[in-house]
C-alpha cells in the first residue's frame, strides 16, 4: 500500500515528462544542431555569419528591440492604472475588470487587423480627426517611409492587445495586499503616487517579476501584429524565422533566428531577475 502510494505521483507525471522530452527537449536540441552545424554535421558558425551579413537581420533586431524597449514600460503603466481602477471599488468594479480583460484572448493577427481598420488611410482615425476638424486630408499612418509612425501604430496595437495579461496578474497581486497597508499609508497622508511607489509596488514585486518575464518573452516574439500593420516595411526576428523556414526553406537560418530570440529572452530574464529580485520578506 505504502509502496503504491509512493509510485503514484511518478506515474501521474510520466506522460507529461515523455511528451516534454519528445516535443520540447528534442526540438530544442535539433534547433541547436540546425543553427550550429552545416549540412555535413560539422560544428560551424557559418549560419550565424550569413545571418549577421544580411540587412534583414539588422532591420529585424532594430524593430524587435525598439518595440520591446518601448512597449514594456507603456504596458506596465497602463496595466497598473487599470489594476488600480479595478481595485478602487468604483461602482461596477466587476464590469471594469471584464472590459479591461476583453483583449486577453484576442490573437496578434486579429488585433493587427482591428487596428488596420483604424489606421488605414481611409480608416476610422482619419475619419474622426477630420470630423473634429483637426486635419484636412487623411494622414498615411501605414507609410513605409516613416519608421517612427509605423513603430507608433504597432505600439498602440500591442498596448491594446497585450496589456490585459499584465493587468490581471497585477489585480491578483493587489488583492493579496491587506487593505490595512494602503489605508495606513493614506491615513498618514500619502498621495496616490506615494502609496503606489512605497507600498503597492514593493508588495507586488513577486507578481511584477513573473508578469514581466512572461510579457517580455512574448514581446520578443512579436510577429503577426507587425505583418498585419506594416507589411514588409517592418520586420521582426520571428518574421525572419518564418520567412526563412517557409519561403526560402532555409531551416538553418530559421533556427539561427530562433536562437537569437532565445538568447535575447534569456538575457532579458536574467536582467529582470537581477533588477527585481524577490526576497522572502516581500512575499505576503
Amino acid at each position: 500500500m505504502t509502496k503504491r502510494r509512493n509510485l503514484a505521483p511518478y506515474l501521474l507525471v510520466t506522460p507529461s515528462v515523455i511528451f516534454l522530452l519528445l516535443f520540447f527537449a528534442l526540438p530544442m536540441f535539433q534547433s541547436f544542431q540546425l543553427a550550429f552545424q552545416d549540412a555535413a554535421g560539422n560544428w560551424t558558425l557559418s549560419t550565424f555569419e550569413r545571418m549577421v551579413a544580411s540587412p534583414n537581420f539588422h532591420r529585424a533586431v532594430q524593430v524587435t528591440v525598439t518595440l520591446l524597449v518601448l512597449i514594456i514600460p507603456i504596458q506596465f503603466a497602463l496595466a497598473m492604472a487599470m489594476a488600480l481602477i479595478v481595485n478602487a471599488r468604483l461602482r461596477g468594479s466587476g464590469l471594469w475588470l471584464y472590459v479591461y480583460v476583453l483583449p486577453l484572448a484576442i490573437s496578434e493577427l486579429a488585433a493587427g487587423l482591428v487596428w488596420v481598420a483604424i489606421f488605414q488611410q481611409r480608416g476610422w482615425l482619419n475619419s474622426i480627426l477630420q470630423g473634429l476638424g483637426l486635419i484636412e486630408t487623411g494622414i498615411i499612418w501605414q507609410s513605409a517611409e516613416s519608421f517612427g509612425t509605423l513603430i507608433g501604430i504597432v505600439l498602440v496595437t500591442e498596448a491594446w492587445r497585450a496589456t490585459s495579461i499584465i493587468m490581471i496578474v497585477l489585480v491578483a497581486g493587489l488583492q493579496s495586499i491587506p487593505d490595512e497597508y494602503t489605508e495606513a499609508a493614506e491615513v498618514y497622508g500619502a498621495t496616490l503616487w506615494q502609496r503606489v511607489r512605497r507600498v503597492i509596488l514593493p508588495m507586488l514585486r513577486p507578481a511584477l517579476q513573473v508578469a514581466l518575464i512572461l510579457r517580455v518573452v512574448l514581446a520578443i516574439q512579436v510577429f503577426a501584429t507587425v505583418i498585419a500593420l506594416a507589411g514588409s516595411a517592418l520586420t521582426t526576428l520571428s518574421a525572419q524565422a518564418w520567412v526563412a523556414s517557409s519561403s526560402t526553406q532555409d531551416d538553418n537560418l530559421a533556427a539561427a533566428y530562433a536562437f537569437v530570440i532565445l538568447a535575447l529572452s534569456i538575457v532579458s530574464i536574467i536582467g529582470i531577475l537581477w533588477l527585481l529580485p524577490v526576497r522572502e520578506e516581500h512575499q505576503v
Binding site: P9, L11, L12, V13, P15, S16, F19, F23, F24, L26, P27, Q30, L34, I85, L90, W96, Y98, V99, Y100, V101, L102, L104, A105, I106, S107, E108, L109, A110, L113, V114, V116, A117, Q121, R122, W124, N126, S127, G131, V171, A172, Q175, A185, G189, Q194, R198, A207, A224, I227, A228, G231, W242, S245, S246, D251, A254, A255, A258, I261, L262, S265
Partner: protein
C-alpha cells in the same frame, strides 16, 4: 513607514474642503476608468462596424460611426473565399485535439504536484515554470522537419502537437491550482470510508474540480485558436484559419481583412465572457 509619517500634515484640511477634494478625486478615477474602457471597447466596435458595412462604405471617406446600412456581404465573401471554411474547421479541430491531449496529460501531472510530496517535485515544477516562459518559435522549426520524417507534415496533427507543447505547461499549472483549492480532507474521508484512491478521485475531487477544469480547457483551446507562428511554419496546403489569413494577407482586399479580423475575434470574446469568473484564479495562480 517612517518616511510616510514625516510627510503627514500637522492638521488636516477643513472638512468641507476635504469632502470636495474627495468628490473631485472620485471624478478623476471615473474619468480614467472610462477613458481606458473606451480605448479597449471602441476598436472592437469599429471592426464590427467595418465588417458589416458595404464595400462602398469601407472605401468611403470620411466615415460615419453609425452605418447607413447593414450587410453581411463581406463576411459572406470571406467565408466563401477559397480555403476559409476548411481552415476554420481545421482550427477548431486542432484546438479540440490540443485540449484533449494537453489536459489528458496535464491533469494527472497537475494532480500529482497538488496532492503529493514526492522526490523531484520541486525540480519538476521548476522545469514546468521555465517551459511556460519559453519562446515557442524555437520549437516549431525543427518540428517541421521531424513531422516530415514521420509523415504528418502539413497536417492538423502537426499543428496540434506544437500547440500541445505550447499549452501543456499552462495546463499542468492551472489544473494543479484547481486541485490545490479542493480540500484533500474530502478525498481522505472518502478513502477511510472504503473508497479506493481512484474512486475517491472520480467521485469526490473530479466533480468539484470540473468547473475549474472546464475553464482550463477553454483557455487551452483559445491558446491554440490564437497561434499564428507555429501554424504558419508547420502548414503549407492545410493551414489553420490564422495561418491561412496570414499567408494571403498582402494579397487580400481590406474588406476581406476586416471580415477576417471580426471572425477571429468573435470566439475570443465569447471565451472571455464564458470564463470571466475564473480569469483571476487562472492567471493569479499561473504566476505563483
Amino acid at each position: 513607514m517612517t518616511t510616510l509619517a514625516t510627510t503627514a500634515p500637522d492638521a488636516g484640511p477643513p472638512r468641507r474642503q476635504r469632502s470636495l477634494r474627495k468628490i473631485v478625486n472620485r471624478l478623476l478615477w471615473y474619468t480614467a476608468a472610462v477613458i481606458l474602457a473606451l480605448f479597449i471597447v471602441f476598436p472592437i466596435f469599429l471592426i464590427f462596424i467595418s465588417a458589416i458595412s458595404s464595400r462602398d462604405v469601407i472605401f468611403a471617406y470620411p466615415k460615419t460611426l453609425i452605418p447607413s446600412e447593414v450587410t453581411f456581404d463581406n463576411i459572406e465573401f470571406f467565408i466563401n473565399a477559397g480555403g476559409v471554411v476548411d481552415a476554420f474547421w481545421r482550427s477548431v479541430i486542432v484546438g479540440i485535439i490540443t485540449v484533449i491531449v494537453a489536459l489528458g496529460i496535464g491533469t494527472p501531472a497537475g494532480y500529482a504536484i497538488a496532492r503529493y510530496g514526492f522526490r523531484g517535485r520541486s525540480g519538476y515544477r521548476l522545469i514546468i515554470l521555465a517551459t511556460r516562459a519559453f519562446p515557442i518559435v524555437i520549437l516549431s522549426i525543427p518540428m517541421a522537419l521531424t513531422f516530415q520524417l514521420i509523415g504528418i507534415a502539413d497536417s492538423i496533427w502537426a499543428v496540434a502537437i506544437a500547440h500541445t507543447a505550447l499549452a501543456l505547461p499552462f495546463a499542468i499549472l492551472i489544473t494543479g491550482s484547481v486541485f490545490v483549492s479542493i480540500p484533500r480532507e474530502l478525498e481522505e474521508a472518502a478513502q477511510t470510508l472504503g473508497c479506493s484512491p481512484w474512486r475517491a478521485f472520480i467521485r469526490i475531487a473530479l466533480p468539484l474540480a470540473l468547473p475549474g477544469l472546464a475553464a482550463a480547457a477553454i483557455f487551452t483551446w483559445v491558446l491554440s485558436w490564437n497561434d499564428v507562428f507555429a501554424a504558419a511554419v508547420l502548414t503549407l496546403r492545410n493551414p489553420t484559419l490564422p495561418a491561412h489569413i496570414l499567408k494571403g494577407l498582402t494579397a487580400s482586399p481590406l474588406f476581406f481583412q476586416f471580415a477576417a479580423g471580426f471572425i477571429l475575434i468573435v470566439p475570443s470574446l465569447i471565451v472571455i465572457f464564458v470564463i470571466r469568473k475564473y480569469l483571476l484564479g487562472l492567471w493569479g495562480r499561473v504566476v505563483k
